[in-house]
């Protein structure tokens, strides 16, 4: 990776995008639940104090208030950590926001295990599963600063509920300002033919490292950044299955219910293909430095590499036994 690559805080981009949107759209309102410093919504609050509502440590109330504002013509952005927005207020999101297709955009930070020292109670490894199972909910996982800005703008102008998740950690700015960000469309981070790695967020960067390691061994990796989990890019997945015959998914989330499950669900019906899931393996998180946690929970590039090699064996033996890949 380019050593001169900028590291960007997606949370800061969230705030700056909100402020910019707020200048021209007076119906944008922002809510938080006592985490405004961490989610950065506080910055919006400083510029537009009348349109910012910090409801304190009360996530369920926050979602209900957001719904009431949305039902009154506002575009409501509601923020907290992934754990508390998707967990504590899950039923409110389901019954009051998603069911009625309300204009509430749930933007969460601190997704995944990279939250670090706060430990398991604050590390959501289930939020993607919890949100994508809801009808009418769109789930976005922007990769970097530019994608975060585009995701927020997309959500602001598209009617209906959104769940947008970023991590606490800063990320390299990988995509370009002019790159298109389309709901339901993934982006190709690297072309290849032997295997496809589909990833999002921090794990996409591990995927980039894995690609380089595998390239040195003559293995050609297609790397896809799946920045919309719902609606997922079925076309890209199908094409990857047809053209490479092996998928490895990678996410900062349980292997149950997230991206890996979404890909496997789809391919099982359309084109049964081995899907090896990298993620937390049905374990709760714990305290630790993010890199140490990635190592402990097998979320590093070398774990992706190992999964690819394992998968290639399955692919090869399937061919040998005459089963069409």
């Amino acid at each position: 990776m380019n050593k001169k690559m900028e590291f960007i805080s997606c949370r800061d981009i969230y705030a700056s995008t909100l402020i910019d949107l707020g200048k021209t759209n007076k119906d944008i309102v922002v809510l938080d639940a006592d985490l405004a410093k961490s989610t950065r919504t506080l910055k919006f609050g400083k510029v537009f104090p009348d349109r910012f509502f910090d409801l304190g440590v009360a996530e369920q109330n926050m979602m209900g208030v957001a719904a009431g504002l949305a039902a009154s013509g506002k575009t409501a952005f509601a923020s907290s950590f992934a754990m508390f927005a998707s967990g504590r207020a899950w039923e409110q999101i389901r019954n009051t926001i998603a069911y009625s297709n309300l204009n509430v955009k749930i933007f969460v930070t601190h997704g995944g295990i990279s939250v670090g020292g706060d430990g398991s109670s604050h590390q959501s490894l289930e939020d993607i599963a919890l949100m994508r199972v809801l009808p009418q909910m769109r789930v976005l996982v922007p990769l970097d600063g530019y994608e975060t800005e585009k995701a927020v703008r997309l959500a602001a102008k598209s009617p209906g509920p959104f769940y947008i998740r970023v991590s606490r950690e800063k990320v390299p700015q990988l995509t370009k300002k002019g790159d298109k960000f389309i709901l339901g469309k993934s982006s190709l981070l690297h072309p290849g033919g032997d295997v496809t790695i589909i990833a999002y967020g921090l794990m996409a960067f591990e995927g980039l490292k894995a690609e380089k390691i595998l390239a040195q061994e003559g293995i050609s990796v297609r790397l896809i950044n799946m920045s919309t989990i719902k609606p997922i890019d079925e076309e890209a997945i199908l094409q990857a299955a047809e053209e490479t015959g092996l998928i490895v998914t990678a996410e900062e989330h349980s292997i149950i219910g997230g991206l890996g499950s979404a890909v496997a669900e789809f391919l099982s019906e359309k084109n049964p293909t081995p899907v090896i899931r990298i993620g937390t393996r049905d374990r709760f998180g714990q305290s630790g430095a993010p890199r140490d946690l990635f190592a402990e929970y097998h979320l590093l590039a070398k774990d992706i590499v190992a999964a690819v090699k394992k998968g290639l064996k399955i692919k090869t033996s399937a061919k040998k036994s005459g089963v069409e890949a």
Partner: protein, 283 residues
């Protein structure tokens, strides 16, 4: 806007009519919640036929006051009132709870004209009403937001999150009611989880509190008029009611929460209501 004797009599007649509608609807639907639908009829009638500014033919009229039924299981009452006012055809009342109906078992804003917010899962409506009240203030509208809570519903923690924050935000354009019929599904509130002292609780959260007989329309109107004059805090109107009100054999009976009248019971009940109406007409 004090209520005239003439208007009062009209509204009392209207309540009788709505009671009949609700009985028939639930009997036909074969499922639903009769007790809690009957206990809040006077409250909803007073709001829709006297207190609130609204246009049935223009449900989204920006200048309207808004009502939200947080105790969503009383939907039949809301539907009967909305139909009577012309938000949708009275024919629709026959389809309550059936497949494809615009009248779902619990209020659904995506299907029913006049329904401001979906409900059914208890404890969420006060938060929603607060959001509406905030929006009205933001837009400098003088709309009033009304929300009706159940007494069992008060046991939900989210109610108190909303109460605390509405008090903190000084939402004086928000008036909430508790339909205090003292019964919930599993028995008397006082035996399951007592919510007393109720008045003190709301006062301590910076709400102005009124206590009334929830079946006395004059008292309902008077409390709401007083509420309009309260500045700097939201109002809570604790309405003491009787579950199953209006039908002698249903009044104050726990079992009539989630059951519907049988054909026989329905016939008896309608007879009772007809007698009451005839008596009043003679007065």
């Amino acid at each position: 806007m004090a209520i005239t004797e003439k208007k009062l009599k009209e509204l009392e007649k209207k309540c009788n009519q709505i009671r009949c509608e609700v009985l028939k609807m639930l009997n036909r639907a074969r499922s639903g919640h009769i007790g809690g639908s009957l206990s809040c009829i006077e409250l909803i009638v007073a709001l829709y036929y006297h207190l609130m500014r609204h246009h049935p033919k223009d449900p989204d009229w920006p200048g309207r006051d808004r009502f939200h039924l947080s105790k969503g299981h009383a939907a039949p009452t809301w539907y009967a009132v909305l139909a009577d006012l012309g938000y949708f055809s009275k024919e629709e009342l026959k389809s309550l709870r059936s497949l494809g109906s615009i009248l779902q078992g619990h209020p659904d804003m995506t299907r029913t004209p006049g329904v401001e917010m979906t409900s059914g899962s208890l404890g969420q409506g006060l938060s929603v009403a607060m959001g509406m009240a905030l929006a009205a203030k933001l837009d400098r509208k003088d709309s009033r937001i009304y929300v009706l809570l159940g007494d069992g519903e008060i046991q939900e923690g989210q109610i108190w999150e909303a109460a605390m924050s509405a008090g903190h935000y000084k939402l004086d354009n928000l008036s909430a009611f508790v339909d205090y019929n003292k019964l919930q599904i599993d028995g008397k509130l006082a035996e399951i989880i007592d919510i007393e002292p109720l008045k003190d609780k709301w006062r301590s959260f910076n709400w102005e509190v009124f206590e009334i007989d929830g079946h006395d329309i004059r008292a309902i109107v008077s409390a709401c008029e007083k509420a309009k004059k309260v500045k700097g805090r939201p109002t809570m109107i604790i309405a003491h009611t009787v579950k199953g009100k209006g039908i002698s054999f249903m009044e104050d009976v726990v079992d009539y929460h989630g059951v519907v009248p049988t054909d026989e019971e329905c016939a008896c009940a309608l007879e009772e209501l007809k007698d009451k109406k005839d008596k009043k007409d003679k007065d």
